[in-house]
Amino acid sequence: MAATKMEAQAGSSLSREIVVEAPQERAFRVFTESFDSWWPREHHIGQSAMKQAVLEGRQGGGWYELGEDGSRCQWGTVLVWDPPRKLVLTWQITSQWQYDAAFVTEVEVRFSPEGPRRTRVVLEHRHLDRFGAAADQMRQTFSSEGGWNGLLQRFARAAEQPA
């Protein structure tokens, strides 16, 4: 049983790490302040091409994209702002690639010095199981009595009533 639980937990998050030849302070600063300089350009959810990726350096700040057309698409917020050690962001982009305030997964990034000019960066994206739950929920909403099926059935019944 314990093994099953551990597997389930392992399945609900992913972890990546990388060693950067840069001091801890600089690694943290480039990750956050210079976020736009390295974030892959093609990774945007807006319909317009991305002009800028922004990460606001404070607890409660947002991280979002600005489109060429002036639109702004939110990705999530800064949950923990602890420079130069730790950063926790919410990733609120659903598997439908849309921001959803009610959908929350977390991205934690830790910066540990391994020397004066070397930093280990560990990134963990947690609660990935919620992507499945959100998909199920959406399916239920669409197919429930209150969803489109129910509305159409009510419409059909009403339309069939003799005048």
Binding site: G11, H43, L123, F131
Partner: protein, 104 residues
């Protein structure tokens, strides 16, 4: 960057593709059925489906003479694989940026 159209973000940034994906989220459909619902031609629907399939968002199966598409039932797994690859690329780009920047 050249592969932008084959990842999830790119695949769903097109409104028609997003529409096709949402139709498939409701129930599996053939290319012909989708073409009737969408304001684009059948070849265009096929092209969009190919992009969605390459991005791991939909799967297809042969049913008699027609090919039926549906949202990948391993959605969570697909998302996980997608994010795995995505964070690898993002962190590699971050590493380059951090190592290029001069100490100030």
């Amino acid at each position: 960057m050249a592969n932008g159209s084959t990842d999830g973000f790119g695949a769903l940034s097109d409104p028609t593709r997003r529409g096709i994906f949402e139709e498939l989220a409701l129930r599996p459909r053939s290319v012909g059925e989708l073409a009737e619902k969408m304001p684009v031609s059948r070849p265009a629907v096929s092209q969009h489906l190919k992009v969605l399939k390459d991005a791991g968002l939909v799967v297809d199966r042969q049913e008699g003479t027609r090919r039926v598409y549906s949202v990948d039932p391993r959605g969570v797994e697909a998302m996980r694989h997608y994010l795995d690859r995505f964070w690898d690329r993002a962190l590699a780009a971050f590493k380059r940026a951090a190592e290029e920047e001069k100490d100030s």
